[in-house]
Subunit: 142 residues, 4 copies
């Protein structure tokens, strides 16, 4: 297995909708983070878990393709998929959909790197805690 997926779902909020009556595109970055948090909660990979292991994990790349608009009253389903990477990176793919109609709303991805939480030095090799995490969650069926 080289990927794991976790889902979360929530309603669009009034304050996320812009004057075109659709969710402002910038809020999707928060939806991605909501997906990542739900994943992290399930698989012990939240910012706090990473911090407690001695690292921070800033986002260094984000991409999003917007397929259909979201409106106030809609619900959003976020499927967050962890994709294994040989480099010292955390890579997630996201699929946002309307849970009622099943229509795809957006697809995107983020890449995070590891910094030592004290020195802020970029980690060029995968931290031991993260290799352990992969063994436990990703390779446990090998």
């Amino acid at each position: 297995m080289d990927s794991i997926t976790e889902c979360t779902e929530f309603p669009v909020k009034f304050n996320e909708v812009d004057s075109l009556s659709i969710v402002w595109h910038g809020h999707y970055v928060r939806y991605f983070e909501d997906g990542r948090e739900a994943f992290g909660e399930k698989y012990a990979l939240r910012y706090l878990d990473i911090f407690n292991a001695g690292f921070t994990a800033p986002v260094v790349n984000i991409q999003c393709d917007y397929k259909r608009p979201l409106r106030y009253g809609d619900r959003v389903k976020v499927e967050t998929t962890f994709v294994d990477d040989l480099a010292a990176k955390i890579r997630f793919n996201y699929v946002l959909s309307n849970p009622v109609t099943g229509e795809i709303i957006a697809k995107g991805s983020t890449v995070q790197v590891f910094l030592d939480k004290d020195t802020e030095l970029l980690q060029l090799t995968t931290p031991a805690f993260f290799n352990d995490w992969k063994k436990r969650h990703l390779y446990n069926h090998l």
Copy 2:
């Protein structure tokens, strides 16, 4: 003199306007902070100045009366007035107006207290640095 006022001005942003085509009321809290920052920049009372003096200054009360809506295309003028307080508090009043028409958009206020930045203990007496600040900026014409 028991008050000082500083002004700043900026355009409404597209992403601040909600589906009623007016600025979402929550963004006024940021406008207040923009006003406070402009004041702090002019009078050396930014978060960083307070932090460097050994304190943080969290907001403990906020109030806002909304008089007229703001729309995309409008500009906002924020008048931020520091009001002296005998207690160990930072008190600001805000007047938001349309700089073109002069119409009042909103009025509000914030109150901040001082916490020791390390112990997080609430300061019951005004910190020395802030008494000095008042002498320099508020009582300098005495």
Copy 3:
């Protein structure tokens, strides 16, 4: 009965926490709106319900007292209480607490008025739909 209360609960999000490691005070306005939305969902008083009745209901006053900080990892409980008002207004009180410790985090209130959705005219008397709503939900035990 002259009030109704509804509760909702959610975790603090990473992106809501500021550099003092506490939730930035402006986000509480969204927490109030989350509470109001949960209330509206339960009692058919969402923005959409009001809009479908022919009105918009902008917030004209907000107040918040911050009692204790919220941190990443905390959960927030929002108790939203509708308080009856003889004037043509919607009045809510909010109590934010930590659902684990029971500690009060903040208390606040909002006041909304009714505008005709087409003419944007302020309604000086309570709209018929809202009197009906009160009869159904607030006075139903009389």
Copy 4:
């Protein structure tokens, strides 16, 4: 000439900084929009201009590479470059830098399409107003 660039500059705001003491990555989407608005102000291509021409222009793709962190106290310079595209799209590239040190903070891009503002139909050919705009601003030195 197949591109035009406009610059804008502003300070990092306190409420944009997260608990890692750096600007939360999601705020860069607003920085891009700030850059686009400054460009649109200069070259008459704001959301309002597009709307008055009969269209909306939702963002359908966004990408961002984060190179260095931004901190409270920093200023940000946004260079927004319009890149000509034969398709019915608006394409912008963004370079964020520290105006004091000149260091690159981030690079990104957005793509927008045109929808008829009434029917919401996707425009497959470049709207006449936008061809005129290009002639005026982009090809005026031919």
